[in-house]
Amino acid sequence: MTQGPAGREFPLGADALCRFMPMHLLLDPEEKVISIGPTLRRVLGEAAVEGASFDQLFEVRSPGGVTRVSELITRSANRFRLSPRQAHNVSLRGLGQRLGADGTLLLNLTFGIDLIAAVREFSLTDTDFAATDLAMELLYLAEANAAVTQELRGLNLRLEGARLAAEEEALTDPLTGLRNRRAADLVLERLCKARAPFGLMHLDLDYFKAVNDTLGHAAGDFVLENVGRILREQIRAEDCAARIGGDEFVIILPGRTDAQILRSIAARIIAKVSEPAIFEGSPCRVSGSIGVVRSPDLDRPDAAQVMAASDRALYAAKHAGRGQAVLLAGGAD
């Protein structure tokens, strides 16, 4: 019997109690179980038997130091926290009421935010909750939220992938697979700005026009692709090889300023480029001239100065009779 607002009492049977409050606990004045709601019964497991004492079933988390329900209700009737001794990880929130004069005690409990974990742990279904309980809404929201988050994460990944692909495409020379002029400019600007030492080679093919004119554009493209392959083989991962014009290439070598090493790399490239490549049965004979500059030889260079210096070195190489590499002497600027 519960006490109504106007002092009237309403009979509420055990079945109704279970239906309205599937997580209730009804205790006699000795604080022993009279009735346990079906959902709370699932949480408590085998310990949930009639006559079990409250203290055997629960540990009071808040208010602290309380072990008896009578004290619990006196101190914090509207909000207390319990944990089942059988399932210590579950935190339950509840409120309680002394019913009538005979000292019967009614507690009603809920999972709070632990609901999601509890549903999984105790295999709860929608029939375990009263129709008035917002549990379904909370579970729904948690899943909807996870779905939305996952979708957003997927979208982010796809957009990032598209961005990287577009960026890569914007910096790549499609014919040779080398970097393009824009990419080379960016690398050069970065190195100049950081005042990092580097070597730079400016390669121009010799006799390329002749191949194009006599064997056709396809042969020309074949030669360019071949040079692309050679450059990729000759450089380190941190170097940048780019096609910056029709048959013009730039190789930027961060940290490489040793004249001897640069000369030998340039000589190797020229030797490889000069090996005749066979296109549809016809040998394509080209060679290469290389102008080499080193950042320490230039006084606080910017990208334009470096390119101008490499142009001069390349011009000198061409002038010296093609198939040559010329390193611009120190203090050239």
Binding site: I116, V119, R120, S123, L124, T125, D126, T127, M136, E137, L139, Y140, L141, E143, A144, N145, A146, A147, V148, E151, L152, L155, R158
Partner: protein, 194 residues
């Protein structure tokens, strides 16, 4: 965002059911600049209906049938288990679920502000007979809902007649709400097996 969701679903349905080449053919037919839709992005209003018309031409079937089949696909396809689960949270039984349809726009907004599902009104015209009115800018919505409701009836194990009436009404007659056992529904989301 309704267009985006429908376009993405249509894409998934066509690709999974008829294969990627058919989807690409539809994209070409519709002169689309893209071949894949993002459910979280926005597309031109009316685009979903327009693409569906091209899909109907490519597949040689009425556009309404395609939307209905897509609705069924969304509920039954294992890859979209999340859709079915979110719908099942609506109610313990199929009739209970029907009543939850009116809450759907509110629920959706709570999950994702800016997601405006069509407003739905449910009227119980006779015992176990319902009229569902749904107003949407997107014409396909009515038939998508028909497909989804048919599939959800199966999911709950209910025997029903679901039919479109006019352009914005769906009539549902529940012949037996416990016709079959239905599919199991655990409140806890199944652990993902990676």
């Amino acid at each position: 965002m309704m267009d985006a969701l429908l376009l993405r679903s249509l894409e998934g349905y066509v690709r999974d059911t008829f294969g990627q080449p058919v989807w690409l053919a539809i994209c070409r037919r519709a002169s689309l600049k893209i071949e894949t839709f993002e459910p979280m992005l926005r597309y031109d209003p009316g685009m979903a209906d327009r693409v569906a018309v091209h899909a109907a031409q490519e597949l040689g079937r009425p556009v309404g049938t395609i939307w209905e089949d897509m609705g069924t696909y969304l509920v039954t396809d294992p890859g979209h288990e999340g859709v079915r689960r979110l719908l099942r949270f609506g109610g313990q039984g199929f009739v209970d679920f029907l009543h939850s349809l009116e809450d759907a726009p509110g629920r959706a907004r709570l999950a994702l502000p800016g997601l405006d599902l069509p407003e739905v009104t449910l009227t119980e015209t006779a015992p176990d007979q319902f009229d569902i009115d749904c107003q949407s800018r997107v014409q396909g919505v009515q038939r998508v809902l028909v497909g989804m409701l048919t599939a959800m009836a199966d999911d709950y194990g209910a025997l029903c007649l679901v039919e479109p009436v006019g352009a914005a009404r769906i009539r549902v007659r529940v012949l037996d709400s416990a016709y079959a056992s239905g599919r199991a529904f655990a409140l806890a989301k199944p652990e993902r097996r990676e």
